[in-house]
């Protein structure tokens, strides 16, 4: 199924939760959680689709202060499989209780870094065998990376100042490629027209998409036109 594009919906809590539900459906996961901090606005954001009793217990127990999937994983640049986290007292404290609530410790956290000191994390879990987990992760990790940045960027743009700071800064190459895509050219055609490799087109298109807070190329084209970055044809 297609993920909803957070850039075009109202920034309400339930749209983020719906998004996380969709992420779980699409990538065959049990649960997903996003946490992020925006130093520009001085805000902390968190959205999870864990069951209510666990959410309540988590907050009541103050686990957000010790949860290693938040504090340790956020400092990595690569996704952190929870197997990599040290099995220390804090880990056990959180995950012993989690297991009572039927929450698995089979999961991973994708850390996101933004340009203004903002950081975020998308964590996902699935209760399954190691072999199944490893196979799933290898398969979905590239897309999950993009999803993590998409949620993070959208959350970080929820205040006016941050939105102004994060006005999409497209390069000439990115605009040029989007312009040809808007004219109906395939990636291969665009490469031929501009005399660059298909891969160069792809990497610029992906960057352009993400700068426009879009998950798909048509969304990116639409937004670029709306912002006056390229011409409508």
């Amino acid at each position: 199924m297609e993920l909803i594009d957070l850039g075009s919906v109202a920034k309400r809590e339930d749209s983020f939760i719906t998004f996380l539900d969709q992420v779980c459906d699409r990538f065959e996961l049990d649960h997903a959680a996003y946490a992020g901090s925006n130093p520009v606005a001085g805000t902390i954001h968190g959205y999870v689709n864990y069951p209510e009793p666990w959410k309540a217990h988590y907050v009541k127990s103050g686990f957000h202060r010790i949860d290693p999937t938040l504090h340790k994983a956020s400092r990595s640049i690569a996704p952190v499989d929870w197997r990599r986290l040290e099995r220390d007292s804090q880990f056990h404290q959180v995950f012993r209780d989690a297991s009572d609530f039927g929450i698995t410790d089979r999961g991973l956290t994708i850390p996101v870094r933004g340009p203004y000191g903002d950081t975020g994390m998308l964590s996902v879990t699935r209760n399954c065998s190691v072999a199944e987990w490893d196979k799933l992760v290898a398969h979905i990790i590239p897309e999950l990376q993009s999803v993590a940045v998409h949620v993070h960027d959208t959350v970080m743009r929820s205040d006016v100042l941050s939105r102004a700071l994060r006005y999409p800064a497209l390069s000439t190459r990115e605009r040029e490629i989007l312009q040809w895509v808007a004219a109906g050219k395939s990636q291969q055609d665009v490469g031929d027209i501009l005399g660059i490799s298909h891969r160069t087109v792809e990497v610029h298109l992906r960057s352009g998409r993400e700068k426009l807070y879009a998950l798909t190329t048509p969304q990116a084209v639409g937004r670029a036109i709306a912002l006056g970055l390229i011409y409508p044809l």
Binding site: K72, A73, R75, S76, I77, A78, P79, V80, R84, L85, I110, V112, R113, G114, P115, T119, A138, I141, P142, E143, L144, Q145, S146, A148, V149, H150, A169, L170, S171, T172, R173, E174, I196, S197, R199, T200, V203, H204, R206, S207, E210, K211
Partner: protein, 287 residues
């Protein structure tokens, strides 16, 4: 063997990072003449304080022989903050699946010890394989890397040529620099593996590397202890001036041939001339 050190395991590998910063100082500061800040023999910049990931190559003895640094392009990185000039004033690429790699280097001094470039080429390829596989495993599709023309040639020679460049080559201090694009596809990784004839898993477990480093530190400690013991032993057999005097007069008196006497006399003269001990003149007078 390759190990990835990042914020999660750097507490265990402080000694390794220290070795790496020293290697970077030797390569970028001394050999290549880049405008880098070297403090105390270590090259460390602002991006090292942002919890980057380091892909580090080690030889069998646990010496750092190669390294490279990776940062996400969604956050602060060199192309967005200090290498902007390479992009001709254009904003940098920013993508969840694009990492930036910088400070790629190999310890050619240590590795070219046998007079050939074989070990250098092997270590270079092992590092390239390690960094490409680490990125790929993390869901990264492409790497943008800031390199100089020398590394660019090395990449091309290792069947690992960049598929494109962004911006243009610019003089950065004494050396030209450029931003090159590499995909993290299996095809590319296989090409480098085939070129270098490397078919094993290049990554070593954290525990394996830690054990190797501990063993190395232990041996170093042992050697230092042995040297200290030797120095102490030498001190114990230090002879007194009287002993030297007695030895010398014995030598002079027991000389049976003219040659033996001359040799003994030469020793005495030398001891006097070099002022080995102030009581030496007594010896001279005693002859």
């Amino acid at each position: 063997m390759i190990i990835v050190v990042d914020a999660l395991n750097k507490d265990r590998f402080g000694d390794l990072l220290d070795q790496m910063f020293q290697l970077r100082a030797r390569v970028f500061g001394d050999r290549l003449g880049w405008e880098v800040t070297i403090t105390n023999g270590r090259e460390i910049d602002q991006f090292d304080h942002l919890d980057p990931a380091y892909v580090i190559g080690l030889d069998d003895d646990g010496n750092v022989v190669s390294c490279v640094r990776a940062l996400q392009t969604t956050g602060p990185h060199m192309l967005s903050d200090v290498f902007q000039v390479l992009l001709d004033g254009e904003p940098p690429l920013r993508s969840a699946t694009l990492w930036e790699s910088t400070r790629f280097c190999v310890d050619t001094q240590r590795l070219a010890g046998d007079g050939t470039m074989k070990a250098v080429s092997w270590a270079t390829c092992e590092l390239m394989i390690g960094s490409l596989e680490y990125a790929r495993r993390s869901g990264i599709s492409d790497i943008i890397t800031v390199i100089d023309p020398v590394v660019n040639r090395v990449l091309k020679r290792s069947d690992n040529a960049p598929y494109d460049y962004v911006g243009s080559t610019k003089q950065m201090g004494k050396v030209p620099a450029m931003a090159a694009l590499l995909d993290c596809t299996e095809e590319r990784i296989n090409r480098v593996r085939a070129f270098a004839n490397i078919h094993h898993d290049v990554f070593a477990e954290d525990d394996t590397v830690r054990a190797l480093l501990d063993r190395k530190a232990q041996i170093a400690e042992q050697i230092v202890a042995e040297m200290a013991a030797e120095a102490e032993a030498e001190e114990e057999i230090r002879v007194t001036a009287e002993e030297i005097r007695d030895y010398c007069s014995d030598l002079l008196q027991s000389a049976r041939t003219e040659k033996e006497r001359a040799d003994a006399q030469r020793l005495v003269d030398m001891l006097v001339r070099q002022r080995i001990h102030p009581t030496m003149p007594v010896l001279v007078h005693s002859r």
